[in-house]
């Protein structure tokens, strides 16, 4: 009995789905930090929260960039990656990161010590706008980059950039709340409410994304099977769904009645674990198509 149609191929001479192993955990960390950092900076600059802006700046300029540089085969040439913004999402990301690093630090200084830096109001507003826009872009572009990676069918959906942006927003809001809580700062009740709405929205968006994959390419359906009942089902059901969304939502609801810093930290931990697990799952479950399908179909008909 031929068994070629469902197996993960052990090597490149074998038939079957091939795992995406090129983008590894370093890219997972970079994308995760890009999402959380971009989301946090965006939320913080909109609410004028300096501590959040500083943490986000460290996550992006320090964390994301370091992970990317460690991943590159030739990191000393990284600036060349900015050459093709007309067609490459990596190049666009480099430009956005450059703009963010310049305007982000000025925004922090303006926000924290406005007496130190003297900028005219229109120019200061322009700097804030550029910093916010570039942080927003950084939170989104990894999704577009993955979507444009044509080889992995599971990523080929317009919903992916939206899903990653929603996760970025959720991570940003959660971290913002945690930083404020730990620093004993007051915050608008809109933020916890927004966090809960984002959790519900992410749950439905994830469900829609997975449902859409049932109508996608065969390799995407196999990836979906790996999420739901295959190799990665424990990570999906346990970490992404239960810890990342359900537990976070329940703890967030509990926090609305019980004031506790421990609870806030726990919420942040659960959300970040779910967020990171989802990103790693996206990368690890990416499969290349069985490119021999057409050949085998024709051979089967003549066998």
């Amino acid at each position: 009995m031929a068994t070629h149609e469902l197996l993960i191929a052990p090597h490149r001479f074998a038939v079957g789905y091939h795992r995406q192993t090129f983008w590894n955990w370093l890219i997972g960390i970079a994308f995760f930090l890009g999402g959380v950092g971009g989301g946090l900076f965006f939320v913080s600059i909109l609410t004028g929260h300096v501590a959040g802006m500083i943490v986000a700046y460290v996550l992006l300029a320090g964390g994301k960039n370091t992970a990317h540089l460690l991943f590159l085969g030739r990191p000393e040439r990284f600036l060349s990656a900015a050459r093709r913004p007309d067609r490459s999402w990596i190049a666009r990301g480099i430009w956005a990161m450059g703009i963010f690093m310049a305007t982000g630090i000025v925004s922090i200084l303006l926000q924290a010590h406005s007496k130190w830096i003297h900028l005219s109001e229109p120019f200061a507003n322009l700097v804030f706008a550029l910093a916010a826009a570039s942080a927003f872009f950084i939170a989104c572009y990894d999704g577009f980059l993955m979507r444009s990676s044509a080889g992995v069918a599971f990523w080929r959906s317009l919903l992916l950039p939206l899903l990653l942006f929603m996760y970025a927003s959720l991570g940003g809001v959660t971290l913002s709340l945690t930083i404020r809580e730990l620093r004993g700062e007051t915050f608008s009740p809109i933020l916890p409410s927004l966090e809960r709405w984002l959790l519900v929205a992410n749950f439905f968006l994830l469900a829609v994304y997975l449902y859409r994959m049932t109508h996608s390419f065969p390799a995407a359906r196999e990836s979906l099977r790996e999420w739901l009942s295959g190799t990665y089902s424990r990570v999906f059901w346990g970490l992404v769904l239960f810890v990342g969304l359900v537990s976070t939502l329940l703890l967030s609801l509990a926090h609305s009645t019980v004031e506790s810093s421990v609870l806030v930290v726990l919420i942040a931990c659960c959300e970040l674990i779910g967020d990171f697990s989802m990103m790693m799952l996206m990368l690890k479950s990416g499969l290349f198509a069985q490119q021999v399908a057409a050949a085998f179909d024709s051979a089967k008909s003549s066998a």
Partner: protein, 204 residues
Amino acid sequence: MARLGMVIDLKRCIGCNACTLACKQENATPEGIHFARVVTCEVGTYPQTKRMFLPTLCNHCSDAPCATACPTGATHIRPDGIVMVDHELCIGCRACNVACPYMNRHFVEHGLLKHGYSSNGISPMEAIKFLEYDEGTNIKCTLCAHRVDQGLEPACVVTCPTDARIFGDWDEEDGKLRRLVKERNGWVLLPEYGTKSNVYYLDA
């Protein structure tokens, strides 16, 4: 203007992997990297089974997703349609690896060029060819551009004992590639990915 490509006749392929070895020898690819592969499998249900061989190589797509994904322009398409990598420009981001649905991009890991294919160190051929590769960058099938530029056919084509690989120019109106594909309903791998592949297959 030319658009070089290949037709692979699956009826002729006997799965001998001579193309794999010829490519390996011609390009002295590092250990574990094969530009030309023959995927083998059995299809059907006993007793009506058939052994299937599918020779593969870079499809040198006209709409190459690897070239689009490349942020530096290291991956580019020559005027004759051959997709090449400039390893001086490649940063090793592996965007091309995940962009190519045919998995015909290969990353040269650090340390890979320090030893040859055999356990006896680096052979003289590898010592010469390894100069063309760069650790931490991507390499791929060049359709033996160094041979094509001299008017020769790729190594996998001239080595094939059954002439299963036919090399030519798709832009030749009455060329053998177009004639074969028209006569025998040639098809490409993964047409749904819209890469405009320049490697066609003929049914077994």
